[in-house]
Amino acid sequence: MALDELRVERVVLKNGMRVLLLPRPESPSVSYEVRIKVGSVDEPRGKSGLAHMLEHMMFKGTRSIGTLDYQKEKVILQEIDNLVEKLGQAPSENRFDLQQEINRCIEKTRQYQVPGEFDRLYSQAGEVGLNASTSTDVTSYHVTLPRGRMEFWAAMERERMIGPVFREFYAERDVVLRERAQRVDASDKGKLYEELLLHAFSFSPYRYPVIGIRSEIEQLTRRDLKDFYARFYTPENMVVAIAGGFDPREAKRILNQYLAEIPSSPIVEKPIMPEPAKTHSVRIVRKSKEEPQLIMSYLKPTLPHIDDTCFDVIQEMLVGGKTARLTQRLVTQKRIASSVDAYNGFPGARFDNLFMIIAAPFSGVTNQELQDAIKIELFRLQSEPVDASEIERAKRRMKKSILLSLETDTGAAGLLSYFELLAGDYRYMYENLKTIESITPDMIMECSRNYLREANEVIVSLEGEPE
């Protein structure tokens, strides 16, 4: 199958919501992906973790789902909001009583709440993979349902697009703190990535972790969430992709009936100061009982800049396969690394981002030795012309990777919506492959010289500490 033979229909609903339809008549199910252009980069200063917290709260039900009597519940929820606001300004001697009062109100709300009803309905309908994710750039909600359930899906998503209720907020905030504990605080490696971002970006919103800073998560309120939701969860800021066993005509009828009438408001993106060019190298070494790890990163432009495509090729040349440069030299030949990987576009693609190399040294090898060996390969990229066959191989691998993603309904819905939202057009994934055709060995050399240089690097590492 040629990539551009993919029969995707792009529909724009009258409220501005973009929908991509990929019917596959033989599929027994349908995958849905709702992507919203909001992520941690959109959070107000001091409110890190808000986008991710909101994603969690979008499963807590609506005015009619998850409640026995919303009108009564609402009164208590508002009372809690008022008390939390007072708590924030209260002198310390009053705080204990206020907190007790809040706890009493939370208990009172429980009599009206039906925990987990939103998920339970999806589950009853036969969902698989009901989940969501938040990145620096995007928040995504995905699910796969049996064919014939599109009206149910549209009714559920409409419910949470017009009237989510952020109930059980404070218990969920604890869950998010535990998620942070599990994913970040539990290991020094988790913390290493936060350290990398902090040093790699001075102004960019990519500086802050998606999950949020613990002390800031602890201060988030339901009101913060409501404001953030009202600002970004608007149809014009959303892309929906649907792939699987459905009739496109029926799909359009359902979409128009359930989602097209949701009111939209224009999005005003906050101006982002471009990340200034780095002037000196940064090296951070952390001692740890964990196994050592090395991360090297370089600031570079994001898509659709041609240099971003060059880095897609560089990534493949360095780690795409067993004979790729870094894999071959560090793992197979010199045997100084047990693993090496590279990633173009960390942590997101909306703003200038990082090209990153992650390597783990074999026992007895220092991070410095590993780093020196990596630098030799980076220097080769800058000084020796690339063989055209390496670019050809990179192109094949990238094409195959896209085809593999498109193989499943879930993968297709995810990929189409991702490019539609971030690149403005899902066809960017084909265009990028064509752009690769235009990449020359000279361009790879120039790109490497411009970005893979010492003054532009941030290196963080974990090193063993004596027992």
Binding site: M1, L3, P28, S29, S31, I65, G116, F118, D119, R120, L121, S123, Q124, A125, G126, E127, V128, T144, P146, R147, E151, F152, A155, I162, G163, A171, E172, V175, R178, E179, A181, Q182, D185, A186, S187, A230, G244, Q257, Y258, P263, K289, E290, E291, K322, T323, V331, R335, S338, S339, A360, F362, S363, S389, R393, R397, K400, L403, L406, E407, T410
Partner: protein, 436 residues
């Protein structure tokens, strides 16, 4: 205010355009299509979308590793790809793999070994030739064996820092006491494996006719050649329930700063009369996400843990049911208590509403789990391997539709009844702090 007005207007508009009620739409009858693949000339086949896949299942897996030589099959499989083909050598083999962008993996499971290859449609011939070479005539290059030994050793050392890995290792040690499944791959066992051990392991597994599945356009003649390049008759290895599990509570620690509770024991096998009811019960206990009792109580209501749930795996001659919770080091005991309360609640009674919810969830999602062609194909190979009747899916759906509340309650009581092998792993870090 303006937003409230708009929402009110929308509600009115909704009523006028007859928007469906999600509660009713969720339970509307839906067609459940069980997964299917064609069976042609001894090969399971499915359509592809540009990339072709071949899945090959050989009888025999890590259960064959000798005592003190655990990791033999893992090391063999890694060395087969890395070491290349006799006559070609490692470098040339890797070059062909990379030039054609072929992904090859050889994954040893406990009872079988699964080989997967993915390649662009136009490269089917070269991919099949390469596969036959790697599987039949691996050069098992000494240098590459040492490289793979180092990589596996490094991976084990890293995994041993994770609480979840430690928890399941300790669980296996006690649940499968005195049985090869309790043995652990360690740097020492990896060190003791010789090239001759690998050659012997290769001759034990990669000589038997395998089960084969194909996605995409791969000529049947190529598949026939692949199949006939293995001479011995098919061999299926199956191991049953453990003979002498050591039930009880076990505590240990790991470097990672979190706490994991795992508790599990045997469960009804796939043909047992309460298997269908047990699947529904498992959904209610902890496998049904936010609607399940464990998640609802421990995560949603108490905010005690981010990850929790239950698992139930059943095969013709073995089955296991278990519960897991991941939390912060200081919450270990609170979580243990909360799990007990949830289990007591299950004993007190499952409601009709819960049972109907779980039944619909399991039945309606049955086909949805198998939409990835690779997953479907592997399922067919596995069903064939374990001699599960091809009509099993339809029969199982029928059984699900007939279970009663009494059946589900009995199945749940059975699943959560002791004795357990219970493992609590906490972090070294918290223990250090407590000592101070």
């Amino acid at each position: 205010m303006r937003k409230a007005f708009i929402i009110g207007l929308l509600a009115l508009l909704g009523a006028c355009t007859h928007l469906g009620d999600p509660r009713l739409l969720a339970v509307a009858p839906v067609e459940v299509r069980v997964p299917s693949a064609e069976y042609i000339n001894g090969t399971y086949r499915m359509k592809g979308t540009g990339v072709s896949h071949i899945a090959i299942m050989f009888g025999g897996g890590t259960i064959f590793d000798g005592e003190g030589k655990e990791g033999t099959l893992k090391l063999l499989c890694a060395s087969m790809i890395s070491g290349g083909i006799v006559g070609l050598g490692p470098e040339k083999t890797e070059q062909i793999i990379d030039d054609l962008s072929i992904d090859i993996s050889i994954s040893p499971e406990r009872e079988y070994t699964l080989v997967r290859a993915a390649f662009l449609e136009e490269d089917a011939y070269q991919a099949c030739q390469l596969l036959v070479g790697i599987l039949k005539r691996p050069s098992l290059d000494n240098g590459r064996i040492e490289l793979q030994r180092s990589i596996l050793t490094d991976g084990i050392v890293r995994q041993q820092q994770q609480t979840m890995t430690v928890a399941f290792d300790v669980f296996r040690e006690h649940y499968y006491r005195g049985d090869p499944r309790s043995h652990k791959v360690t740097p020492a066992t990896l060190r003791s494996i010789s090239r001759q051990d690998l050659v012997r392991a290769h001759q034990k597994i990669f000589i038997h006719k395998p089960l084969i599945g194909v996605i995409g356009n791969v000529d049947q003649q190529l598949i026939d050649e692949l199949y006939h390049s293995f001479d011995s008759e098919r061999a299926a290895v199956q191991v049953g329930m453990p003979a002498d599990p050591e039930f009880g509570s076990f505590e240990t620690n790991a470097v990672e700063k979190q706490c994991v509770l795992v508790m599990a024991h045997g469960a009804p096998m796939i043909e047992h009369e309460i298997h269908a009811a047990s699947v529904i019960a498992n959904h209610i206990i902890g496998a049904g996400g936010f609607g399940s009792r464990l998640v609802k109580e421990i995560r949603t209501k108490m905010g005690l843990a981010y990850s929790s749930g239950s698992f139930y795996q059943a095969r013709p001659i073995w089955a296991i049911f278990g519960i897991y919770v991941v939390t912060e080091p200081e919450n270990g005991q609170a979580v243990r208590k909360a799990v007990d309360e949830v289990l007591q609640g299950i004993n007190k009674g499952i409601t009709v509403k819960e049972m109907e919810w779980a039944r619909q969830a399991v039945m309606n999602s049955y086909a949805v789990k198998y939409t990835n062609p690779n997953v479907i194909l592997e399922r067919f190979l596995e069903m064939d391997y374990y001699d599960i009747d091809p009509d099993y899916d339809l029969r199982f759906l029928d059984q699900l539709s007939k279970v009663s509340l009494l059946d589900v309650q009995a199945a749940a009581d059975n699943l959560i009844a002791g004795p357990w092998v219970e493992v609590l792993v906490n972090s070294n870090h918290s223990i250090d702090q407590a000592d101070e």
